[in-house]
Symmetry: C2
Subunit: 209 residues, 2 copies
DNA sequence: AAATATACTTAACACTGTTAAGTATCCAAA
DNA sequence: TTTGGATACTTAACAGTGTTAAGTATATTT
């Protein structure tokens, strides 16, 4: 079936064109400028054509959100070679914050915007795979730190949630401008590092006694 | 100048009508249904009249955000009588999470949406007073706990930021549906409590030795 | 009575996501 | 070769959004 194969290829090629255009708009003009009409302009098709390749805008934004996770994965390359789980946890937290602050729009789409989750809702398996994978790595690291007696043993799920909550809270308060009027802009990053250090030093058992 | 006073009163009365209508839409139909035209419909004026009383929609949303902080303050009444700063800190955290989860749209406007901060940006003093007050209370409690030797001494600003970050992170991940596909919906609230307890127990020096 | 200030409205601009209906183009069967 | 149908795409429209310039009554002041 050479013909239907070529058809299929064309289908995925136009899908790629749409996603490329979306990404271009996203990185060059920001989230609010990713509109169906502007995408259509770039790929030189009519706006309605976009709907022949994607169910709705949420599905496009879900794909951008996935690319965000890929970018984050690249950003975290080399982290998984770190043997000491506590040190790895430290670097993971630092990287998470750094990634969020240097890619605020990307982070926003991944962890704040509703659109990608609404796209998942209308899917068959209805799973947030990217999120699961990312949290999984955190859990594994914390489990390992507990097993080795580096931090106090406890509910891994709750502790993971707490640590993720803290770094996400710091990043999202920052990129949604809740720190702007609260403190010197030059101090927010050091302060966030300090907050993370405080948490990780507090749970660290290796330094004590 | 009785006449200009009456004028002024009328001005504030219509402002109140607009805000009442906005709040009505907000609580009955949700954030996405607060539109200038719908507000105008309720108060039985034309949409453009709204702009004679408010600079833009952001200014209206800023006012709703302020009402949110008032609601939160009422929610927290009785907290300030608690003598033990560590216990108070505990209850503050619990209340913060509870408030966020029971008033998600309200919380969203207060701590996630951009609109209120954009309204502040175009103001004269350019200060987030409500945020300052709320964080101030957290700082005071943490300072007190440090002074009394209940928790490890450290940078109050960083610790406050960390704790606020964590509770905000948990609430915002929850109300922006990042936990939905991650765990049993019935377990998220207990899990969040557990995460908070874990943090506060970890920093608690009163139980140790 | 005329001029001016106040309060409000109409109409429009420039957008948004989305859908129903219509039109070419290509491919296969009669 | 011609006809019929699937494929790919477009036009036009719906139902909204925030916002502004310009116009119109009404009321007040000169």
């Amino acid at each position: 079936m050479g013909i239907s194969e070529r058809k299929e290829k064309q289908k995925t090629e136009i899908r790629k064109m749409i996603l490329d255009a979306s990404m271009k708009l996203f990185v060059e003009q920001g989230f609010e400028n990713v509109s169906i009409r502007k995408i259509a302009d770039i790929i030189e098709y009519s706006p309605t054509t976009v709907y022949l390749y994607f169910k709705d805008k949420n599905e496009i934004l879900f794909n951008l959100h996935e690319m965000g996770f890929q970018k984050m994965a690249e950003f975290n390359e080399g982290l998984w070679d770190i043997k000491n789980p506590l040190l790895r946890l430290h670097k993971m937290g630092e990287n998470y914050i750094k990634f969020g602050l240097t890619n605020p729009e990307c982070y926003d789409l991944m962890f704040i915007q509703r659109a990608p989750m609404e796209a998942i809702e209308q899917t068959v398996d209805c799973e947030w795979k990217s999120g699961d994978v990312a949290l999984g790595r955190l859990k594994d690291t914390i489990q390992e730190a507990m097993d080795k007696g580096f931090i106090v043993k406890g509910n891994v799920d709750a502790v993971s949630m707490g640590i993720w909550g803290m770094v996400h809270g710091l990043v999202s308060l920052s990129i949604r401008n809740r720190f702007d009027k609260m403190m010197d802009p030059e101090m927010t990053i050091p302060m966030m590092s300090q907050a993370l250090n405080w948490l990780l030093e507090t749970i660290d058992l290796t330094m004590k006694e």
